[in-house]
């Protein structure tokens, strides 16, 4: 259980009371960089140095994990023109700082910043290459600035009579962590530095793996008890919620502070340890948004661990998100990752399977399955007498290919140099090169949105074609073009009498498989040695973006109007892998069976089956045990990733009317959880509708 004083600290954090220590800065970092004619690498270092100098240390008397942001904004340090000058990019190329990745925190804990600094300094003596020198100098400036801030924290702690923090901040992050406590403090401090350096959505990865040696050492040598460790973890988690309103994301909460628990080690043996359990327990008892928990499972995962995961699910926070090692690891290997790397996978900000210490573009736009089906339908129906499934499928393939090319061209995403973050990415510092260039894998992830809607629409068309009802097909086209006005009866039939994904019905489930197979074919064909495309099943915010009432001028993906599965203009798609929004299906077992038809060995960018469960399911211990069995079933049928939500719809509806009473209500939005009342209304509505059809 959580101690009273920690509960107070949690509530203080949740009420965002830390805001009072913040101030805004008007400093013009870009101007300074420009005047000094700095390279992009130096600019990044200069930003971090400036931020570290401006940060005022905040230490409370009894706290054990320090760092509180005091500068609320990150000044810009470059603009479009600077990017043009530095990189001469083609139109459509987007430059962004490091994001959606997982640093290798083992490096931090084992070597400390001092270890990195030594390599950088030695390198500077060795190399004559101008770019390498520039990189290493930037690394040194950054590290020294961070150590300086840590020292300021140590001094401040002394003034505040916090001897614990004063001692610890003298040691970390500068030196290797010597204890479990030091490891946690080092992690919190460095991850905060990433945000100060304008990086975002950098996750914590396999926390139970890299923290375990420190935990075990301290327990074995009786430095701490298990209860001490629990308190420290709780305080660490609370600290991770402190500045989250300042972090960048599409919606509040989308900040990428994810962790991955359990699974196997790089040598193939089980990685489940005491910390795996302890972290789940702390998360369950604290009920905070951050960090967002993921749990790796396979056929051998002990039931008690999965049941603990289910107890966390019961809290209604929308996590843990489960991933199936038996499916994920082989798919990553097939895509070209080494077996050791694949076994070490974690997730990026939402669900994308990535390797800690690697830097890749994990989401570059989204393929709209529904647009592919709709465009192909509109094209093929122009000559109704020639309509055949073969022609229709060919057009779907063509459209997908067009979409993927378009995403590659118009969402060509590159990383800006980030010398400081680079030191935690494998091989960057050793090769004296920024991780944006030296990274081992250079793959590109792509979401695949609206799969269930698209399969349902495809099944409607196949149904009419098989019955040779070409007139009917023409009528569907007309009805869609008129947004079903005057065709209400037809719309009702399409919505309620046609096969739907989620009912374990091969007629439509095999179309779901076809769509993903085609996505995989197309991306494999368009992959190059340099840029291997990773197709995924996630939707992110595209479930709304792809179905606007009025087209968004800024969206490069094709939008759809009304579509053949009976969907009206503006109605959202389902999130990631879920039955079409607003359709009642047979049940959760059938949903799992339907989605197990996808060949996940070729679709590995992640994107969970998303299921809303009624809270009554989890009422008793028996319910928890059964949910754990359901997760084993998810593994057995060969699904990839699963995300369960348990919320009472009445609570959600009440929160819309009385947000002031539900400030701490947490919901899963897409790959992340957020405070319900901080979401835009369209996202709130989507969540309420999802819960109306809970299983």
């Amino acid at each position: 259980m959580i101690k009273e004083e920690l509960k107070k600290l949690r509530d203080f954090t949740q009420e965002r009371k830390f805001k009072k220590y913040r101030k805004h800065t008007d400093i013009d970092v870009r101007r300074q960089c420009k005047d000094a004619k700095m390279s992009m690498q130096k600019r990044s270092a200069h930003l971090l140095k400036t931020m570290c100098e401006m940060e005022e240390p905040i230490v409370f008397e009894n706290e054990k994990i320090a760092f509180t942001r005091t500068i609320e904004n990150i000044p810009s340090y470059y603009n479009e023109r600077d990017i043009q000058k530095a990189f001469h990019p083609k139109t459509g190329t987007i430059y962004d700082t490091f994001h959606n990745a997982c640093p290798n925190f083992d490096i931090l804990l084992k070597e400390g910043l001092i270890g990195r600094l030594e390599i950088a300094k030695a390198g500077l003596k060795k190399t004559k290459n101008k770019n390498q020198k520039e990189f290493l100098e930037s690394v040194i400036i950054s590290i020294e600035a961070v150590i300086e801030l840590a020292k300021k924290y140590a001094e401040k702690a002394k003034l505040e009579n916090n001897g614990v923090i004063a001692e610890i901040m003298k040691r970390v992050p500068e030196f290797p962590a010597n204890s479990f406590h030091e490891a946690l403090q080092s992690l919190r401090f460095i991850s905060s530095m990433f945000y100060l350096n304008n990086n975002y959505q950098l996750g914590f990865g396999r926390l139970d793996q890299y923290l375990y040696p420190y935990y075990k050492h301290d327990i074995d040598s009786k430095v701490i008890t298990k209860e001490n460790a629990r308190d420290l973890l709780a305080e660490f988690f609370i600290a991770l919620n402190r500045d989250t309103d300042l972090y960048f994301g599409v919606q509040q909460g989308d900040n990428g502070q994810t962790i991955m628990l359990g699974g196997i080690k790089t040598d193939g043996s089980s990685g489940i340890n005491d910390l795996t359990y302890l972290i789940l327990e702390v998360s369950r008892d604290l009920r905070l948004i951050d960090p967002k928990i993921n749990l790796r499972v396979d056929s051998n995962t002990p039931n008690d661990l999965i049941e603990l995961g289910c107890e966390l699910t019961k809290q209604g926070l929308g996590f843990p998100q489960y991933s199936n090692d038996e499916v994920v690891i082989p798919a990553l290997v097939k895509k070209g990752y080494s077996l050791e790397d694949a076994r070490n996978y974690t997730v990026a900000a939402c669900w994308e399977f990535i390797i800690p210490g690697g830097l890749e573009i994990v989401n570059q736009g989204a393929l709209s399955f529904l647009a592919a089906v709709d465009n192909a339908f509109q094209k093929t129906i122009k000559y109704p007498v020639l309509f055949s499934m073969k022609r229709f499928r060919k057009e779907i393939r063509k459209d997908m290919s067009k979409q993927v090319k378009n995403i590659l061209k118009k969402r060509d995403t590159r990383f800006l140099p980030s010398p400081f973050a680079s030191i935690f990415f494998d091989g960057a510092l050793e090769s004296y090169t920024d991780a944006s260039i030296s990274t081992k894998y250079k793959n590109i992830g792509m979401h695949g949105a609206g799969a269930a809607n698209a399969a349902d629409a495809l099944a409607v068309i196949k149904n009419y074609v098989e019955r040779k009802d070409l007139k009917g097909l023409k009528q569907i086209q007309k009805a869609c073009n008129r947004n079903f006005e005057g065709y209400e009866e037809l719309q009702d039939k399409l919505l309620n009498e046609m096969p739907k994904v989620g009912n374990d019905d091969n007629f439509v489930d095999l179309e779901l498989k076809f769509l993903f197979d085609t996505f995989a074919d197309v991306t494999e064909k368009l992959s190059t040695k340099k840029h291997n495309i990773r197709p995924g099943s996630g939707s992110a915010m595209y479930y709304l973006w792809l179905t606007p009432k009025e087209p968004h001028w800024w969206l490069i993906e094709p939008a759809v109007g009304a579509t053949a599965e009976g969907r009206s203009v503006g109605e959202p798609l389902s999130t990631s892998l879920a039955p079409t929004h607003g359709i009642k299906v047979s049940g959760v077992l059938s949903v799992l069976k339907s989605f197990s038809n996808i060949d996940y060995s070729r679709v590995m960018n992640g994107g969970p089956i998303t299921i809303e469960l009624a809270p009554s399911v989890l009422g008793s211990q028996e319910g928890i045990e059964k949910l754990a069995q359901l997760i084993k079933y998810f593994v057995q049928v060969g699904n990839q990733q699963l995300q369960l939500n348990v919320l009472d719809i009445a609570t959600l509806e009440e929160a819309v009317l009385h947000p002031e009473r539900h400030k701490n209500l947490i919901v899963r939005v897409w790959g992340w959880s957020g405070y319900f009342c901080e979401l835009a209304p369209e996202y709130q509505n989507h969540i309420i509708n999802r819960h109306k059809y809970s299983l």
Binding site: D504, L618, K626, Q629, L630
Partner: protein, 253 residues
């Protein structure tokens, strides 16, 4: 081959027996319990639901239904679950029910019943099912007639038959405030259970669902239970449970 009518098949029913279960709801019931929360389970024929704008009630052949259930054999064996037949009153369509169940030799089969069936049909059921959930609502026959529309004679006879068989069974008692949760009724039920040859493996006391009447208007039906009091008489329940320690469980929801 026999056909029957269902009004729902629920996947992952967590309160209907061991493991992960599929619960099949057969349409039609000879009882008219005032508190019934499944109005669509009363009539034997399909009905129009004006809220959903749909016909509720679907005809299945025993072959079709058995095939559907067998689709879930993998999850049954993984979780030591199975199929639960409920209703309405499943035994009211006994030919269809038995024919379906006999096509599922390797599936754990649970019958959730009011016990209202001829002794012959009930005895046959005991040779087919692996576990029985048996309802006892009211011990007093006059009250039983008043609140459920039928006498409890057959039901209590069948309970005797059940307790003399070697089949495991649960007894389920719906707790309807001031109707079934009275001291007199719970005492009398306790007496009945005490005198049984083989005791049930569990006694489930089920809380009354305040939303029980919610579905009636969708079928143009009236919910006749006008109950001012929604609170279970907890003292009576606790008193009952104290008589059957380790056996009786109070399900609050």
């Amino acid at each position: 081959m026999n056909n029957g009518y269902l009004f729902d098949i629920k996947e992952f029913a967590t309160n209907d027996g061991p493991g992960i279960r599929l619960t099949v709801f057969l349409k039609g019931c000879p009882l008219r319990c005032l508190w019934c929360h499944n109005p669509e389970g009363l009539s034997f024929i399909p009905q129009f639901n004006n809220m959903m704008n749909r016909i509720v009630g679907k005809e299945y052949s025993s072959e079709q239904l058995a095939r559907h259930i067998l689709n879930f054999e993998d999850v049954f064996s993984l979780s030591q679950g199975g199929v639960t037949f409920s209703g309405g009153e499943a035994l009211a369509q006994s030919d269809f029910l038995f024919e379906t169940a006999l096509k599922l030799p390797n599936v754990h089969k649970l019958l959730d019943t009011s016990g209202f069936a001829s002794n012959k049909i009930f005895e046959k059921a005991l040779t087919i099912f692996d576990l029985i959930f048996f309802d006892i609502k009211l011990a007093d026959d006059v009250l039983h007639k008043k609140y459920t529309g039928v006498s409890n004679k057959l039901i209590l006879q069948n309970l005797q038959i059940l307790s003399k068989s070697s089949l495991p069974y649960n007894i389920r008692i719906p707790l309807i405030p001031d109707i079934t949760d009275t001291k007199e009724n719970l005492d009398a039920i306790a007496q009945i259970i005490d005198n049984l040859k083989n005791l049930p493996i569990q006694i489930d006391l089920l809380s009354y669902n305040v939303l029980a009447g919610g579905k009636y208007s969708s079928y143009n039906m009236n919910f006749k239970l006008k109950n001012e009091n929604n609170c279970v008489n907890i003292e009576n329940v606790e008193n009952f449970i104290s008589k059957f320690e380790n056996l009786a469980i109070f399900h609050k929801e």
